[in-house]
């Protein structure tokens, strides 16, 4: 379990990264915290010719609030979020999510940008952020742009990020103090990747996301409608009924645990 030979370059600016990606000869990958790509390279499931290390790139560490928007840099670690650096209700929600990701040593290194760029269906941030709504900030050869989180992840390990683009951060809603949120992760062990996730946020709008599927997490509009209509609970049977209308490829067991996750996320939101 040792990686195939590769070149490692410590980058100093985003522009250099974008340029290096644009001029890439062979497979070039960005290195965030290395907590996903590291194991994949060790298992030789990924064999990049070169990795571009973001750890010295400036401007990716920020967390700031402006009005009802929150800006979070791509290199912010799960640990910093767990430690409460993100303010307000959004921060409380994200703190809860972060504290359930793996164990502390992984959280010390793993980054929110890396997690969303990696788009592992079983990971937490792709689901948690989709429930929040907002935008992914990206820089590529064509300059900087924003991509809505809605639709950013298109499949397992597949996102709207172009091959020459770097994820630099997120523009997220700063939730009001009365916003209700609930997050429920089904897994075998604390900190393990999820078998199912339910995430709901009920503020100005209601958003409900079914995560840890075979593919990308998806919003469950029927549930959002119920929540917008004032529902404060959802039975497992009803959640099953609604989810079975989605073409998620669930078997009976998967349908059940995803239904439970959503039902309990709503339960937590209104607890």
């Amino acid at each position: 379990m040792k990686p195939a030979i590769f070149e490692h370059e410590r980058m100093s600016s985003i522009d250099d990264v974008v340029q290096a990606l644009a001029n890439a000869d062979g497979e070039v990958r960005v290195l965030g915290g290395g907590q996903s790509i590291g194991p994949m390279m060790n298992l030789r499931l990924a064999q990049p010719d070169k990795v571009l290390d973001l750890s010295r790139v400036e401007g990716l560490d920020g967390i700031s609030e402006a009005g009802d928007r929150l800006s979070i840099g791509a290199r912010v670690t799960h640990a910093r979020i767990e430690d409460g650096e993100v303010p307000g209700t959004t921060g409380a929600y994200m703190q809860f999510v972060a504290s359930g990701i793996s164990y502390r040593s992984v959280r010390n290194r793993g980054t929110i940008g890396g997690s969303v760029a990696h788009a592992d269906p079983a990971a937490d941030w792709p689901t948690a952020l989709l429930a929040l709504g907002g935008e992914v900030k990206v820089v590529g050869s064509g300059g900087e742009k924003s991509i809505p989180l809605d639709g950013f992840q298109v499949g397992p390990f597949t996102t709207g990020l172009g091959w020459d683009e770097v994820l630099i951060g997120f523009d997220l809603p700063a939730l009001g103090p009365n916003t209700k949120w609930g997050y429920y992760k089904v897994n075998r062990k604390p900190g393990e990747f999820a078998d199912a996730i339910g995430a709901v946020i009920i503020g100005n709008e209601a958003r409900a996301v079914c995560g840890a599927t075979e593919s990308a997490p998806f919003r469950v509009f029927d549930i959002e409608e119920k929540l917008s209509g004032g529902a404060t609970e959802l039975s497992v049977a009803d959640a099953r009924e609604i989810l079975s209308g989605h073409d998620a490829g669930f078997d009976d067991y998967e349908l059940q645990i995803h239904a439970v996750a959503l039902s309990r996320a709503i339960g937590r939101a209104f607890a």
């Binding site: 379990m1 040792k2 194991p39 298992l43 062990k189 393990e192 059940q256 645990i257 439970v260």
Partner: protein, 790 residues
């Protein structure tokens, strides 16, 4: 018998001597050892479960750095070949490197050597393999029958050994109630923190092969190296340095322990192989896979009449050295009765060859499966009779007044109060309180259940049993070498191997007990064939019984020699002397060991002419007399909460009441039990090596193979009965394996108790959420359909 007066002796809560190096990261494992000009090895392994006509194409420019079975056979390296004496046992070679035929995914095919492991892995990737894939034998039950794909072409079928144990079968006619169930324990990997590891080199100065290996059995490894490589015993030096857990995986020979040394001799450079976790999960998925069809019979009062069973043990593709591949099936067949009285017995047990890694005796050896089958059958019978399962157990356990007790299959329980362990566990876990809590129901909608698991563990495999099986390593008299050092301290050499059990401490305590030494003054050396007496090694919960016994007996021999010198110095008769507080005491005073040593080593002119020239160093040995095994036993009791929506199981409380005879070090005993119990939780709830229909392993990383963690057990509540064994020094019984035996049984019984209103019985490990929910749904469905038909 120890009187508890020695500060560091038997029974003392001594901190581990090993703590300083382990807790400071100063342990030395094979991977910590580097030699000049060392090459790293990576192994080309079979990508298929079953194939023939294997052809290997070496990577370019790999001459002298790439080795296959052809190279081994050109040098006449003999394969592993272990056939037991049991009639009908089918034998086969276990090639170190696959030779024409591939028999499991992960089987070693070729060795690649390079300056770094990464470069060696590049060579693995560049190696070409062609073969003709064959249908694999994956299912131990179906593939035990004629017509299945054959793992070994020259065998009639895949049944390695078909054993039948029948006693007094007429008595089954007396049964009034019978329950029949199928139980399955799925395959898992052993997963010590450190996997296999070998570093070998030819030492030109010593003219011998030096092999460092993460082994529990260095002396047996030396035997195997001599047998396979044609070397003489004095040409092989095996060292097991710090070993990061073994659990039975390292008490068998790995093929790497032969071919890596051989390759090192070819390239005339040190060669190191360090197994990585993926290699471990694929090639060492080799434990626990048992299936039982059981019928338990009782009279109408619930007295057990006897048990009938058909057992299959998936024993994998080969027989391992030295314990072969029939240890589990024969033990399961012979001792399914567990700690219970019964008068009839009819058990058939088959070891079945499949295209999976060869079975190894993982901590508990067969008994986790035996206990799971028996204890779940007992609960099923209790439900059938409408009895409290705990009471039914109490009624049928071998009572204290029957000790020593000869079992229906001829085993001999030496001592103990089995029902008392059950009663104490029941008291500690507070059965009535749990029943009341169940009555009240849980606020969170979960279901609470309580389950018990009773077991016996035959510890320290006896000579006659191993000889009957004809294993390649038969334990005889265990020996210890004890030397009084020039400063009055002791150095002890033993052939057993410490790989996390704290034996450098507990074995030292034996000498402290005998001589009243301080623990710092006793050093225990082990894990090195050059410095210790021969031993079959550490396995079968034998080290304290055997090596501890040997140290005790050797101290007797050495003590007399020390007393002789002391008597001379004290000018008294030998019979007037005794040893205490590291000194020889006589009527006129006492002489400390340091003074005895000074005279023997530094001022021998002061010795009398009659002194024993053997000096202050002795080797002696021990074996239980008669040649029987001390039996440890325990009752485990678990309270679980089952989430009927998610199928998840949480252990709320866990109690163990156990008897390992005289306790040498209470902290180490507790540590061994806790660690074992957590491994048992792994078997019960988490660990599973899955295969697809082609025999491809699906659990090759820790992302796909769930290990139990520290959050999966509540604080264990331990309770100790102490019934000294009449067979051993100090009355000790083996202890290392027991903790891992009953958790699957206790936890499954608790789950079934929790779900009894649903009419659900889980009967398979691990008890995953998917299995629990599937069982609940099935029960619901069958209830619905029975409503429809009635």
């Amino acid at each position: 018998m120890p009187d508890g007066t020695s500060e560091f002796g038997i029974g003392a809560k001594v901190l581990r001597k090993e703590d300083a190096r382990f807790l400071n990261g100063h342990g030395r494992y094979v991977a910590d050892i580097a030699r000049p000009k060392m090459l790293e090895a990576a192994i080309v392994r079979s990508p298929v479960a079953h194939a023939n006509n294997l052809k290997v194409t070496a990577p370019e420019d790999s001459k002298g750095r790439f080795f296959t079975a052809d190279d081994l056979s050109a040098d006449c390296v003999a394969p592993i070949h272990v056939v037991s004496k049991f009639p009908g046992h089918k034998g086969s070679d276990y090639p170190h490197l696959a030779n024409g035929k591939l028999r499991f995914v992960g089987e070693a095919v070729a060795v690649c050597l390079a300056e770094t492991r990464a470069a060696a892995e590049d060579m693995v990737a560049a190696t070409g393999l062609t073969f003709d894939a064959l249908p694999p034998a994956i299912d131990m039950i179906a593939d035990a029958e004629p017509g299945a794909p054959k793992v070994h072409d020259d065998w009639e079928d895949n049944v390695i050994l078909d054993s039948r144990f029948e006693e007094n079968t007429d008595a089954f006619k007396e049964s009034a109630v019978s329950v029949t169930r199928d139980f399955r324990m799925n395959r898992q990997a052993v997963n010590p923190l450190e996997g296999g590891a070998v570093l070998a080199e030819w030492d030109a100065r010593e003219e011998r092969l030096v092999v460092h290996s993460a082994s529990q059995i260095p002396h047996i490894l030396r035997n195997a190296l001599c047998e396979c490589l044609g070397l003489s015993q004095n040409q092989v030096h095996v060292i097991a340095p710090d070993v990061g857990g073994g659990f039975g995986y390292k008490c068998v020979l790995l093929p790497e322990e032969i071919y890596i040394p051989w390759v090192a001799m070819q390239v005339k450079r040190p060669v190191r192989w360090i197994q990585d976790r993926r290699e471990h999960l694929v090639t060492a998925a080799n434990a626990r896979e048992h299936h039982y069809s059981v019928t338990l019979h009782a009279d109408s009062d619930g007295n057990f009449i006897g048990i009938e069973a058909d057992i299959h043990v998936d024993s994998g593709a080969y027989a391992v050295y030295p314990h072969s591949n029939i240890l589990e099936s024969t033990m399961a067949g012979r001792t399914l009765h567990g700690p219970y009285k019964m008068s009839a017995y009819k058990v058939r047990s088959r070891a079945v060859a499949t295209n999976k890694p060869p079975i190894v005796p993982y901590r508990g050896v067969a008994r986790p499966g035996i206990c799971f089958a028996m204890e779940l059958a007992v609960d099923a019978l209790a439900r059938e009779l409408g009895r409290e399962p705990c009471d039914l157990r109490e009624q049928n356990l071998v009572p204290v007044e029957a000790m020593p007790y000869t079992t229906i299959t001829g085993g001999e329980f030496d001592s103990g109060d089995y029902p008392e362990a059950l009663r104490r566990a029941r008291g500690l876990i507070d059965l009535p309180a749990i029943r009341a809590r169940q009555e009240a129901g849980e606020d969170d909608g979960r279901q609470i259940g309580i389950g018990f698991g009773c077991y016996i563990e035959m510890t320290a495999l006896q000579t006659s049993a191993a000889a009957r099986a004809g294993l390649a390593a038969i334990p005889g008299y265990e020996q210890a070498q004890v030397r009084l050092m020039p400063d009055g301290g002791l150095e002890i050499g033993v052939g057993v191997q410490n790989h996390g059990q704290g034996m450098e401490t507990t074995l030292a305590q034996v000498a402290c007990e005998k001589f009243g030494l301080e623990i710092e003054d006793v050093a225990v050396r082990h894990g090195d064939t050059a410095t210790s007496p021969y031993s079959t090694g550490t396995y079968a919960s034998r080290s304290m019984v055997m090596a501890g016994g040997a140290i005790s007996r050797t101290c007797d021999v050495l003590g007399e020699r020390i007393r002789k010198i002391g008597a001379h110095l004290l000018q008294c008769d030998l019979s007037q002397t005794e040893i205490s507080s590291a000194a020889v005491t006589g009527p006129s005073g006492s002489v400390p060991f340091a003074e005895i040593s000074r005279v023997w080593y530094r001022n021998p002119e002061e010795l009398p002419d009659s002194v024993d020239p053997g000096g202050v160093e002795a080797v002696s040995g021990f074996r239980p007399e008669p040649d029987n095994s001390p039996f440890s036993y325990a009752t485990h009791a678990a309270v679980v909460a089952v989430d009927p929506d998610l199928g998840s199981v949480e252990i709320l409380d866990y109690v163990i009441s156990e008897d390992c005879g005289t306790i040498v070090n209470p902290m180490i005993v507790d540590g061994q039990i806790i660690g074992g119990a957590l491994q048992g939780v792994g078997t019960a709830l988490f660990e599973e090596s899955n295969y697809d229909a082609e025999g491809q392993p699906l659990s090759s990383t820790f992302a796909d193979y769930a290990m139990p963690g520290s959050t999966h057990l509540p604080v264990l509540r331990l309770d100790h009965l102490v019934t000294p064994s009449p067979l051993t020094e100090f009355g000790v019984k083996g202890l290392g394996e027991g903790g891992a035996i009953p958790p699957p049984a206790a936890i499954a019984n608790a789950v079934n108790d929790a779900l009894r209103e649903y009419g659900v019985e889980v009967a398979e490990t691990p008890i995953t959420p998917r299995r629990v929910l599937t069982a609940i749904w099935k029960a619901k469905q069958s209830r619905l359909s029975s409503v429809e038909t009635s």
